[in-house]
Symmetry: C2
Subunit: 202 residues, 2 copies
DNA sequence: CGACGAACTGTCCAACTGGACAGGATTGTC
DNA sequence: GACAATCCTGTCCAGTTGGACAGTTCGTCG
């Protein structure tokens, strides 16, 4: 089903293939996506994939650069945009910017994290580092937390954010609605801030 | 690589196939596992799979029954074992019982949640219901939480628990050690209890 | 115009997949 | 020991996969 039917102009096939790959990898995962599906989605011969990227893995690398590159960019702009209130709401804003806007990127990130190899570890390392940096800035210095809890704080924060991302399809079914719908996302984000601030049992 | 080399006795092939399926599905996922791999792991002809389970999907159903059945059993015994202190530590104990002991079951559960279809939604629904029940018991009545936060409490609790499960391979790499090693699990569990109790910013 | 290189295509291929099936081995029963 | 049911195997099959490759189209530059 070539959902993007228009045949690309000569010379545009490369970007069309990257777009098709991003879409289908995000939807179905890398292994479950065939080169022929990608070619059909890009309205292009499947032999062209090999010409431009030399292999299926080559296309994946190109898509990774594309998605994770724009990801890096989004992180940077999110960091600058917030006028640095120094409060926890920034976490929510950053999350919304990273994961709220673009469903396709969200699903692609999910696939990278879940397909679970070196790419997943590399991405997770970046996310942990980012969360750690943010916490370092927001937590009182010196933190009142005992070290063996402080050590897990960034991971805990991240799990609250990534949980819905990783479980999106199942969560959608259980909730009966899109967990990333703007109002839902805002409510979740607020609940997360409150949990981090006071716990559930304050 | 038939890691379980011993040829099963006549009549034992069925259970051998279920065990092999559980192992390989947990390690590689359903789609990435071939019927021939399973047969080799069970030291049995691959045609036998069809005889006993009629199809690859049939074997998956049998493995699901096996794993998720023992899962249900584990939940029940965890519930009875705790002498009902009514405190948060029970969450940690239940988690440890569910996910700590058996690496293979842990990975299988991860696959079910992540491969993301109806089975994932059904399992998640059970987990949410369980977490909800637990919170209902542990939270002060009436809860001081505003309803729009109370609504997400079970999910938040679950994300803290499931995060490491879903990200296990990547997390292992980033941490440089097994996130489910007993001491690590205990520390994480303790950190989770403290987060739920007081937040990070108490 | 002509030719040259880059972009693109149709078609073939070996490997592998889940499944089909006919027949062989083993066990229990009379 | 014969027979039948169950368990099990070797082997074939059609479909799909990523990749290989020779050849065609197209823009561009002389």
């Amino acid at each position: 089903m070539p959902t993007a039917p228009a045949k690309p102009n000569r010379g545009d096939a490369r970007v069309a293939l990257v777009a098709a790959g991003r879409k289908l990898f995000a939807q179905q995962g890398y292994d479950a996506t065939t080169t022929r599906q990608i070619a059909a989605e890009a309205a292009v011969s499947h032999a062209l994939l090999r010409y431009h990227f030399s292999s299926k893995a080559g296309l994946r690398d190109a898509v990774d650069d594309d998605v994770l590159g724009s990801f890096t960019h989004a992180v940077a702009s999110a960091r600058e945009e917030g006028t640095d209130h120094g409060d926890l709401a920034e976490v929510g804003r950053a999350t919304a910017l990273l994961f709220g806007a673009d469903q396709e990127r969200r699903r692609y990130v999910r696939r990278v994290l879940v397909d679970g190899d070196d790419r997943a570890a590399a991405l997770l390392a970046r996310l942990v580092a980012g969360a750690e940096r943010e916490l370092e800035r927001l937590l009182p210095q010196p933190s009142a937390l005992p070290p063996e809890q402080r050590r897990w704080a960034a991971y805990q924060t991240l799990f609250l954010i990534l949980g819905p991302l990783l479980l999106e399809p199942a969560l959608h079914t259980v909730l009966g609605s899109d967990p990333f719908a703007p109002e839902t996302l805002a409510e979740r984000s607020h609940a997360n801030q409150r949990l981090l601030q006071h716990g559930l049992f304050d």
